[in-house]
Symmetry: C3
Subunit: 254 residues, 3 copies
């Protein structure tokens, strides 16, 4: 599917946080996608309507950007543009949870891309998250992901040591990636918008699983060059631009 993504050159409208915006834009360009990042209420409906996917990220949310996310999401919904939500730091504050609830109420989200701590927080399960990092807990993540997918009617991609992708019916477990990915900010955020690019080719759990698989393999390839976070970050952008096929079948190693 990566070939189809590169041929389509999808336009990805990102309303994202200012910590990762540069990395996210460069990752999308390396993928062959075109990022556009406006978050002003006066223009987001127009941007989302012509995009091939909309990527919403609450990492440095504020009242102004939340309003823009909802307007952009509704515009994307009207045009059938897939919407990916990244609920960064969901459990960190009550405000984040209330914003996520509001977005989910007003926008039809196609896919949720998050870490375990964020999923647990959204589903009100006990979890010891650390700010925006995943943290630790005992929840059965696969069951939780299936529950979330059924409750909200979207595809869920929870990434971590094992990645889980489900639409509530199909379940993919993906074993790709490398631990150093947790030492670079925005790795999850970029994956969320890469997921949008794959969804622009096909709106399915399989497409999301392919995005996650592709991304993990890019991480493995970059980690083979360097496991130090600075060098890894650069090698990872390079890897996204050069990997043209998956070594593995969807759902696990071949």
């Amino acid at each position: 599917m990566i070939q189809q993504v590169r041929e389509k050159k999808p336009l990805i409208h990102c309303i994202t946080n200012y910590v990762v915006a540069n990395f996210q834009a460069n990752g999308l360009l390396s993928l062959g996608a075109s990022p556009v990042m406006g978050d002003e209420i006066e223009e987001v409906k127009e941007l989302a309507a012509v995009a091939d996917a909309l990527s919403l990220n609450i990492g440095t949310l504020n009242q102004r950007s939340v309003e823009s996310m909802i307007a952009a999401g509704q515009s994307a919904n009207e045009k059938g543009v897939p919407v990916v939500l990244d609920p960064v730091g969901a459990g960190a504050t009550a405000y984040r949870l209330s914003v996520i609830d509001k977005i989910l109420k007003e926008v039809n989200v196609t896919a949720l891309r998050c870490n375990a701590g964020e999923l647990a927080a959204m589903m009100r399960k006990g979890w010891s998250a650390k700010g925006v990092d995943a943290g630790e807990g005992d929840a059965d993540l696969t069951a939780l992901a299936v529950d979330a997918a059924r409750k909200y009617g979207f595809i869920v991609a929870v990434t971590g040591e094992t990645d889980i992708v489900t639409d509530g019916d199909i379940i993919h477990q993906i074993h790709a990636g490398h631990p150093v990915m947790a030492s670079v900010t925005g790795m999850g955020c970029l994956l969320s918008s890469v997921t949008g690019a794959f969804l622009s080719v096909e709106k399915s759990a399989d497409a999301v699983a392919e995005a996650v698989q592709f991304y993990g393999e890019a991480g493995e390839r970059a980690a083979a060059i360097s496991e130090k976070p600075g060098s890894f970050q650069i090698a990872f952008i390079n890897a996204i631009s050069t990997i043209n096929e998956s070594k593995y079948q969807i759902g696990g190693r071949a």
Copy 2:
């Protein structure tokens, strides 16, 4: 002229977008310039008044920052500080076009640095741009750049495969650069503020052409080290810091 820029160490006030701000600041530091990036209305007049150039960029514009851009621009005008406008994604939304019109009405812009799609949008010519990327079209860019320069009384630098710099009278065509530059976000944005640094030495189309030429050569040198977008980005910042003279004459290869 690069030697004069490095000796002057110009202070460049940038009101820019949060996607490229880091890259833009690092590029200016590598050039030997000092970036300062405040966008709060309470302080932008003061910053612009003491700067050696003002660089305005609408990549992630919002109502607050547009107000600041105009205030800063007027302050720069009062002090004779050159102003460079980068109309990022001009054709992407009606809002962007209206903001550009407003800025051009209220501020005397010294130079416009843009891509072909943005110039075509500003001049209301047909062009198929892709978000903030250049896109494709049939307009005669040189004629369009000359028209724009005469209409608005500023220097125009349109960058792409061939770069065109004109003040409506002198026309420079520059053949420098490398295709990988289109795969790194903020390459155009940084050039706009580098253009400001050159304009702080001399307010002329020749100075803008030298900036564009210098920048393209830095791109060539970096691409000789790596054509992968992650590594290129780092090699490019290195190249800006080390190139001390142009291999070519202004206006074409020697």
Copy 3:
């Protein structure tokens, strides 16, 4: 102390500028800390209350973020969470000085991390700063740092060719670092939040001096790999993740 920082994995709440946010987050992750970067008034009290340190940075301040900084600072004070203030570009505008005064009036700041020009501006001494860069002047920095520490009751870390750390009583002079550090944006900003991480282990001038010493050594190690600003930046993030002990005693070379 670096070992203790890595074991603690402190959560650092940063309200920072969008120019350096990515670099700051990656630097903190490399250190083994967890950055969280919300700046919305609705959530900053909650974030600061659970953090191990709060890092305030006025690089791209605006009226909204200043309000959030004060709310976060007061929340940190209530919980005994150390607060580091980075008065970026203090002397650049009257607005910045007024904001710094306001923050210092309403928040108990544990440590101030700044350059010479910023300290001089805060203490209303003559100094020729350049935007947000240090600039040049004749003030006796050690005396000025001691004065500031006594006046405001915080630890002062002024970094430059020689770094000075003082609580108004103990004085550390640190000779670490490399000139290329001045060519990368956010080097000071990241140090400020690294200082927060060290303060989360021990609230003392010694802890701040260890942070500054560690940071300078990381700079030396990275500069030994490359003195070009692009490559240095990556080598520096790598160095932060790998240095596990100081070669030197606090207060000077052994």
